[in-house]
Point group: C2
């Protein structure tokens, strides 16, 4: 175990990193017609921007992610950033060659402006008065960050799940600013089933009496509701096979059933732990806003069809999907790849065999490493 | 619509039926070692028991079902029993030939002894002091009813989902008493994913402050928790295809997104309606107890292996599974059929193409009718 930890840490990884912030007093216009300001974006960078400002890669995080993609904030940190194994010298997002950026989405709770931020109209946290944001709004906010960093064109954008939504948004809304798009386990629209799961999670949060209409800051948060929402999420991130392999019908710390209503199976303890640890790091209101942004995600509707949307893409595109992912099934990636191909756009789609379900994009790293490295190599050859 | 209703109603169906009750003062020994008494079983019967007492078919209901399988309790009833289209003169469970019985499971809330019943020790409702029951306990209670009706051998037992668990329990625990077993969309054990969904539903109910440790009778019930549990269930009963076909990304009563946290997609309204209507007819504590009984369901563990369990079966078995059912995938039925075949037992497994998901066993009636009719015909030829 220690060996593995040491391999992940400095000097092999990006080492100690710092979260940075940029704030704009000018409000950001939102898709709803509302405006959000002042606007703060929390971000981290790894590696160095080259003189031509052509080697920047923007990483885009999923529902529960944040700007902390790699390294540690202090040597005492137990865990590195969420995509650490992929970011660093010699890793696919090779910080000896690329300038890697990751920012927290607006509506989030990890430093960027979100429902826990101070509403300038009241001086109090926004709560449920925070405006509903969309994937388009998240990416429009990111363009301010990229502008501020003096970057005209990103070498690549990359993300899985909701991170893939944002990468697709970049590639279609700002086609001239994206050299390559790396889309993992994602989709061009949220399906009815995704909306259903998100909606049930929101219902669990909003019916927790401690939600208090969103104004729970300074009080106990709606931790039961958020736990239920997260537990639902976790089952959708795994596959039936992986649940059987990891947990099966094993009892947690017992050989015989307790004949009680309390949790006793290992899968129940796992879910309970996931619910509790998520509460320790995530704000329930952000869960409401970010899942709502996901539900609104519908690129074909925006441009009339998936074909029309993909016709806008100028980037080279790499899609990776996973056989056991039932939340964003591989067919969704295939549909995007097929539409790009019909539009004559350079695209590669790799379907990786996996039992890990949707989580595969984060946990099946070994299989993705050579594919992502080769894709970025080719981009770098052309664009650096 | 009126034509369809008239076809279902008397004289084509079983007409007006009455719920009946039997009560035993002698306690029922339970798998946990506890005892449950007095014991009441609510049941209904359709058709007539023949002189040889050889034409009885026991229908077994799923999680949210009850003893009211067919007909109407009064002419004003809006809906007939849950399996009405399959029960009646000329229907597969042909009441001109068979004596059809259906009872409410113990732990339920539709007339049989359950957590809302009076605990003789306290004079108050059991609440969470109700003993945990298993599928084996439910079926052992049913043997009392079948004994009381003077029936030695059932022509057949039939059920889908948790009803299939009970049918399998009958066929393995009381092999000499079952002529045929009809198993729809079911499994010999609850998989980790099933336990996960059930456990999250229980967590939602038990963390609703109105649950009050189970003692909410006479107060407002934990309707938010039960709604969330039911909404989760409903998504697992449908398929991704059926959700797309029925709801897709359609907004409910609007053309443009409202940019609000409230529900606005049609799928959200549907789930909300399901949650509310379930609250109107179901007791949250029964949901806890019945899902727990499902989680404990593990026939291979009881007898050492699926083979050993199936070696006990003397009944002819018909399994029907549905291609889009991901809660009880068709592979589970195939495993049961294969094990029976290897044991030299007469078994037929029909996998029906369907987009309806797990719900197919209740809604795809047309495809099942001829198969079930033929199966029962053959049983009747041998056993009547």
């Amino acid at each position: 175990m220690m060996t593995a930890l040491q391999t992940e840490a400095h000097p092999d990884g990006v080492g100690i990193v710092q979260r940075q912030y940029l704030t704009w007093t000018e409000a950001l216009p939102l898709e709803s017609g509302q405006r959000l300001g002042p606007l703060t974006i929390a971000f981290e960078t790894y590696g160095r921007l080259n003189q031509a400002r052509s080697n920047a890669i923007l990483l885009l995080h999923a529902l529960s992610g944040d700007a902390h993609a790699a390294g540690r904030h202090s040597p005492a940190d137990r865990k590195p950033g969420w995509w650490d194994s992929m970011v660093g010298p010699g890793r696919p997002f090779d910080t000896s060659r690329y300038f890697v950026i990751c920012s927290n989405v607006i509506g989030g709770c990890m430093g960027s402006t979100g429902p826990a931020s101070r509403d300038p109209r009241t001086g109090q946290p926004y709560g449920a008065r925070f405006p509903v944001v969309t994937i388009g709004d998240m990416v429009r906010a990111q363009t301010r960050l990229i502008d501020a960093l003096g970057i005209e064109q990103l070498l690549a954008v990359a993300g899985g799940s909701m991170g893939g939504f944002q990468a697709l948004e970049w590639a279609t809304a700002y086609p001239g600013r994206v050299g390559g798009a790396l889309l993992l386990a994602t989709s061009a629209r949220s399906a009815a089933q995704t909306i259903a799961w998100n909606s049930i999670g929101r219902r669990a949060i909003m019916s927790d009496p401690r939600w208090r209409g969103g104004d729970y800051y300074g009080h106990e948060p709606p931790s039961d509701g958020l736990a239920v929402a997260r537990m639902i999420g976790h089952v959708t991130y795994l596959s039936e096979i992986s649940l059987e392999e990891k947990f099966g019908r094993r009892l947690q710390g017992a050989r015989e059933p307790a004949f009680s209503l309390e949790r006793e199976f290992a899968i129940e303890s796992y879910l309970d732990y996931q619910g509790a640890s998520f509460n320790a790091r995530f704000d329930a209101n952000s869960y409401l806003y970010i899942t709502k942004a996901m539900d609104y995600w519908d690129l074909p509707a925006r441009y009339g069809s998936l074909e029309a949307a993909m016709a806008r893409v100028q980037a080279r595109t790499l899609l990776i999907s996973f056989t056991s992912d039932w939340l964003y099934p591989t067919a969704e990636s295939r549909a995007i790849a097929d539409a790009l191909t019909r539009q004559g756009r350079p695209v590669e789609h790799v379907e990786l065999p996996s039992t890990a379900g949707h989580d595969a994009f984060l946990v099946d790293e070994a299989a993705q490493r050579p594919i992502i490295t080769a894709f970025l190599d080719e981009l770098a050859t052309t664009l650096l």
